[in-house]
């Protein structure tokens, strides 16, 4: 039996091309009739890939024909890649481990691969060969995640802010957040905080309408711009992104407000340029001030750490590829098959991956 993978990803095709080959309702039947004994479609925003097993060779063109969404008047040959047997296993292991992702080390792809496998298994499209391949891929991904630091740290400004907030407050559900300035970046950061359970949101902006619009969008409440400073005694997180030329918050202004909240930290995320908060505010006890540069610097640092971990991850993958190759060479070795047989726990999805 021949295992192979044919696909397109963000490395070699733009989003328009990937959209055109994202599969169609007939893809499964078409793949079977083209000679694939087993086939699985992994379609995400960054890749469209077919993993298949066949007795005889199925050409890339035949696979591509099965993936086309609609007849294309401007036909051209997209740059599909193809990997066979061990190379196919290596590619899938790298994909599920997040090494082939746009953001190295992201874990969403593992959940997507598990869902694709569950769907193929439920429909009967995935048999024992794909089963072995994918179970091994999930195991490799888990090992890479636990034995390396490939998933450590956040790599976007919003998620870095959320990570820092969690390292200060632990549980964000009881945190009170004030958003000063209804800009796009602050909205993204707020949404990231809401996704971690923040419920008490206040929005203040020079334009009352924009404050109300953002408050409505994030299920918060608008606060008059003249009143925002009074909120500093109550809130836990302040996100500022106004277009003010001068700092709105200075050490002298903030220090008296903090006297009654000495035991509660204040996390200030200043994403405005020029900055809304004077840098010396960070010197106050219990105040943690992060501007856009420091957030970006942490994101870059995390990304660099992830890149440093690639070699260790590749080592784990190559060991598994060699083992998997031996298993494949042994063919229908029953004992090997039994040891690789799925259990409900192995195949099931974790909530974090859904």
């Amino acid at each position: 039996m021949n295992l192979f993978c044919v696909g397109l990803s963000h490395h070699n095709a733009n989003v328009e091309t990937r959209e055109r080959f994202a599969g169609n309702p007939e893809t499964g039947c078409a793949l079977r009739s083209s000679g694939c004994a087993e086939a699985l479609l992994l379609s995400t925003c960054n890749r469209v890939e077919i993993y298949a097993a066949s007795e005889k060779r199925v050409s890339t063109d035949e696979i591509v024909r099965c993936l086309v969404r609609e007849s294309d008047p401007h036909h051209f040959a997209p740059p599909f890649y193809r990997y066979e047997n061990e190379k196919c296993a290596q590619h899938l292991f790298r994909v599920t481990s997040g090494l082939d992702s746009m953001v190295v080390g992201e874990t969403e792809i593992l959940g997507q691969a598990k869902r694709a496998y569950e769907a193929a298994r439920a429909s009967g499209a995935a048999g024992r060969y794909l089963h072995r391949l994918f179970q091994r891929a999930f195991r490799v991904a888990k090992q890479v995640r636990t034995r390396t630091e490939i998933t450590r740290g956040a790599v976007s400004v919003g998620s870095v802010a959320v990570d820092l907030a969690q390292k200060i407050f632990s549980d964000l559900r009881n945190c009170k957040v004030l958003v000063l300035g209804a800009g796009e970046t602050s909205e993204r950061t707020v949404r990231a905080l809401v996704s971690r359970g923040v419920a008490d949101l206040r929005v203040s902006n020079r334009s009352r309408e924009r404050a109300e619009a953002l408050a409505f969008a994030v299920n918060g409440r608008a606060v008059a711009f003249e009143q925002w400073a009074k909120q500093c005694g109550e809130i836990d997180i302040l996100i500022t992104s106004t277009s003010s030329d001068l700092p709105l918050l200075s050490r002298e202004k903030l220090a008296p407000m903090l006297r009654d909240r000495i035991d509660r930290p204040l996390f200030i995320i200043d994403i405005a340029v020029p900055r809304d908060v004077a840098p010396d505010v960070n010197a106050l006890d219990g105040v943690y001030l992060y501007d856009i540069d420091s957030l970006q610097s942490i994101a870059e640092q995390s990304l660099a750490t992830r890149r440093e971990q690639i070699a260790a991850a590749e080592q784990i993958i190559s060991e598994h590829v060699a083992e998997f190759g031996e298993l494949m060479a042994r063919g229908s070795n029953c004992s090997a098959q039994a040891s690789e047989h799925p259990t409900v726990a192995e195949g099931s999805l974790r909530p974090s991956e859904l």
Binding site: T146, R147, T148, E149, R152, G153, L164, Q166, K167, I168, F169, S170, D260, I262, D263, P265, N282, D285, G286, Y288, Y290, S294, S297, I298, Q301, T305, E308, Q309
Partner: protein
Amino acid sequence: MDRYLLIVSTLCFLVAIAHTVLQMRGGIFRPMRFNFFAVGLGFIFQTAFLSIRGHLLGRCPITNLFEVIIFVAWSVALFYLIVGPAYRLSLMGAFTAPLVVFLQLFALFAPIDTPHRGRLPANPWLEFHASISLVAYGAFALACIAGVMYLVQERQLKTRHLHSIFYHLPPLTDLFAAIIRLLWWGFALYTLGLVSGFFVGEPLPWTQIICAIGVWFLYGLILQGRYLRWFAPKRVAALCIIGFSAALTLLWGITFTTQTHTP
């Protein structure tokens, strides 16, 4: 024989340290149960040592500075084993093990294990007073360790230089909550120990009484300061470290004066 148990116990704590250091150097730290079990095993050997000593002495084994230090190390491990899983403070084992190793190595190498001539007379109130006060030291030691962890984490957040350890240390609010709970535990136990001292029925040296009240007053001040909002969490963490260092010095003073007054 009993000293061998102590050596094995120290080795268990050293293994926990070595494991953490190796993982940190590799840039990886998995919150495995390894440290917890290594400390747990070390605690079992400590308990065996204290048990054998206790049977030999016919009373609680806190009759000289050597035994007092081992009893404090045992209390630290005991509190870690209770607090570690309950408060879910990752890396606390990695911070606890070095303190226990330091205490035990000092006890093993310093010439402080002076044997008593004959059996000391049993005094249940005195033993209760001394042992409960030393268990309170265990809580103060853990509060000191949580204080160190708080200051490490706080410094990284302030300077915005996040090292590998940042991702493994608990959040500031969790650490501060643990510090306050440990201070309360220690303060309550110490108060109990102090009150029971009045029922000992033997005259105690004034220096010992003053030192004991000094430690009680110090921790009372930290707790009072926290509730009256005199101190920010960072100061409370720093005071826990200063407080435990002072309390340890005073403990040496108390034990020294007790030994010199023992016939």
